[in-house]
């Protein structure tokens, strides 16, 4: 090693040290925040899920698998299965309703498309709780739907829509649809026209082109949509609380109740860990289709 080389290396080291201050100032706050308020709470909740429930609520720091055993109790297990079923159904509906919607917008001229997207966003600036309340008013016993059906003589007495699973599903689907439409829209928009033309030129009909070209190429958007709809639907408690009136219970409600009236923190923690595990599994599956950085959000 020559003298000059060593000198060069020393300079490089000094330069690197000098660049450490701006690095700390810029990447520091976000890193500290994420570790303090994401990593540590999640590790802590995993830890709590293996502890024992105190006699008057609270936590006794003694290892136990009691909470996880409780999850297998039929009462809780049916709720978990039901939540999974509803989330799955919501996701399916969002994909089926959202894909043609996204496709239509993506095929419009750019300016019109961005206007249509804007038009889609505006209703979602309204408070989400008041929107759920509106669905309730719309379907309540003396609400417009029942009134019209009664006037038309289609029903003799009002239908009880409130506090039923279908209404909860309606609230979920209408609330989640934009999160399905936006990622699918952006991947359909990127789809190159000449690929579709090539497919048609080679003799493929519209349905074959759709199955062999459009669908595989827009898969990242579809998988993003699945993640962005399925996981929040699985963890919701507000939609069930507003439209289910406490009669319809999903995982989210059970978790919330453990920290309110029931006070069984380890059980709430174990249910949260279950949601975390399902999320992790889905993300793992997602990475087999696309890179996580490509997950289209917003």
């Amino acid at each position: 090693m020559t003298e000059g080389h060593i000198e060069e290396q020393r300079k490089e080291k000094a330069r690197r040290k000098k660049s450490r201050l701006p690095m700390l100032a810029q990447a520091g706050p976000v890193s500290i925040w994420m570790i303090l308020f994401v990593t540590i709470p999640l590790l802590f909740i995993i830890y709590i899920s293996f502890m024992t429930r105190g006699p008057f609520g609270g936590v006794v720091y003694k290892f136990s698998l009691e909470s996880y055993k409780t999850l297998l109790d039929p009462i809780y297990f049916t709720v978990i299965l039901k939540s999974l079923r509803v989330a799955l159904f919501t996701t399916l509906l969002c994909l089926l309703l959202g894909y043609p919607f996204a496709y239509y917008i993506a095929k419009q001229p750019a300016e019109r498309a961005s206007k249509l997207i804007m038009l889609l966003m505006i209703p979602f600036w309204t408070n989400s709780m008041i929107r759920l309340n509106s669905w309730m008013l719309f379907f309540q016993t003396a609400g417009p739907v029942n009134n019209v059906l009664l006037k038309l003589g289609l029903i003799q007495k009002p239908i009880m829509f409130l506090y039923t699973d279908p209404l909860v599903m309606l609230g979920l689907v209408t609330g989640m649809l934009p999160f399905a439409v936006l990622p699918m829209y952006s991947s359909i928009e990127k789809l190159q026209k000449n690929l579709l033309e090539a497919s048609a030129d080679l003799g493929a009909g519209p349905s074959l082109t759709f199955r062999k070209v459009t669908l595989p190429l827009t898969m990242p958007g579809i998988v993003s949509a699945i993640i962005l709809v399925f996981i929040p639907s699985l963890g919701t408690y507000t939609v069930t609380d507003m439209l289910g009136g406490g009669k319809v219970l999903y995982i989210g409600n059970i978790i919330k109740n453990q920290f309110g009236s029931i006070r069984n923190w380890p059980l709430g923690a174990a249910l949260s860990v279950l949601l975390l595990a399902i999320t992790a599994l889905l993300i793992f599956l997602y990475t087999r289709f696309a890179h996580v950085d490509e997950l289209e959000v917003v």
């Binding site: 701006p22 690095m23 100032a25 810029q26 990447a27 706050p29 976000v30 890193s31 925040w33 994420m34 308020f37 994401v38 990593t39 709470p41 802590f44 909740i45 709590i48 919607f101 889609l120 209703p123 600036w125 309204t126 408070n127 989400s128 709780m129 008041i130 929107r131 309340n133 509106s134 309730m136 008013l137 719309f138 309540q140 003396a142 417009p144 209408t174 993640i227 962005l228 996981i231 929040p232 963890g235 919701t236 408690y237 507000t238 609380d241 009136g245 406490g246 978790i255 920290f259 709430g268 923690a269 949260s272 949601l275 975390l276 999320t279 996580v292 950085d293 997950l295 959000v297 917003v298």
Partner: protein, 276 residues
């Protein structure tokens, strides 16, 4: 041949008709709750169980400020939303630049952590934060809600702004430094203006996420003053009064109008730049 052509055209037109109809129905469904909200803000009933006729009394009541608890919750929600927006956008700008520009150990981990609040159900993070705060004796209230909000706003801010930083930024910054500007000057005069559209949308997104949040606000309030969405959630079962509808109607109007003004200003600036 001719006949086939017209037949295909006819089929095409029919397809077009159904596509338009479908889009129209979808938008109608999206706007229906908003319309119901506005209509019931004019409902002359003590509580919104049924339609009792037209009135504007909820708006008079709202702006006579007689229901001070409603205004208190709104102001409380606004304070939290503004603070969350400022903090998240500030940390988000720095973080997006820092995570793009520098290589350091654990960067991959931080990038992964940023996706956690976006993807994991909010209830999980809210409950985890609650357990941590209670265990370590941190008092619940404005501070805890604010921390909760920032935790999910920061990732969105970072992701939004990161998308706006391109390769050109490095060249521009180097040029600025070569011309004698120091780091801080370069940051405020070069870096920030180039990523400004991203910063604006990050701020807008943070504000809308915070003002609409229920889960964090509900879990981390600890019996203190609740935010507007939490109040609506808790009053829902006993029935909301029309002034809440009136208030949210006013809010959506303000949002839409300010959005229109913002886009008009941006259009005008773009026009001026094009002329210059």
């Amino acid at each position: 041949m001719e006949q086939m052509k017209t037949k295909r055209q006819g089929k095409h037109r029919l397809g077009h008709f159904f596509a338009t109809l479908y889009i129209f129905i979808m938008y109608a469904v999206f706007y229906l709750p908003v319309v119901v909200m506005v209509v019931y803000s004019f409902n002359d009933a003590r509580k919104n169980y049924s339609w009792m006729g037209f009135t504007t009394r909820w708006y008079t009541k709202l702006f006579s400020f007689s229901n001070s608890s409603l205004w208190d919750t709104l102001i409380y929600s606004l304070i939290i939303a503004v603070l969350a927006t400022v903090i998240s956008t500030f940390i988000g700008v720095l973080g997006a630049i820092g995570l793009k520009k520098f290589e350091f150990r654990g960067k991959k981990f931080i990038n992964m952590m940023l996706y956690v609040p976006i993807i994991v159900p909010e209830i999980v993070l809210a409950v985890a934060t609650l357990i941590l705060f209670v265990t370590f004796g941190i008092k619940m209230g404005l501070g805890s809600i604010l921390i909760g909000h920032c935790t999910f706003c920061i990732p969105y801010a970072v992701v939004t702004i990161k998308g706006r930083i391109s390769g050109d930024n490095d060249t521009l910054e180097e040029a600025s430094m070569d011309l004698g500007a120091n780091r801080i000057q370069t940051f405020t005069k070069v870096t920030i203006p180039t990523i400004m559209p991203g910063v604006m949308s990050a701020a807008f997104l943070s504000f809308t996420l915070s003002i609409d949040d229920v889960v964090m606000s509900n879990m981390l309030a600890g019996g203190s003053q609740s935010t507007l969405p939490v109040m609506i959630l808790s009053l829902n079962r006993t029935g909301l009064t029309g002034d809440v509808n009136a208030l949210t109607t006013v809010m959506i109007c303000v949002m839409v109008i300010s959005m229109l003004i913002y886009s008009a200003i941006r259009k005008r600036i773009a026009k001026k730049e094009a002329q210059a």
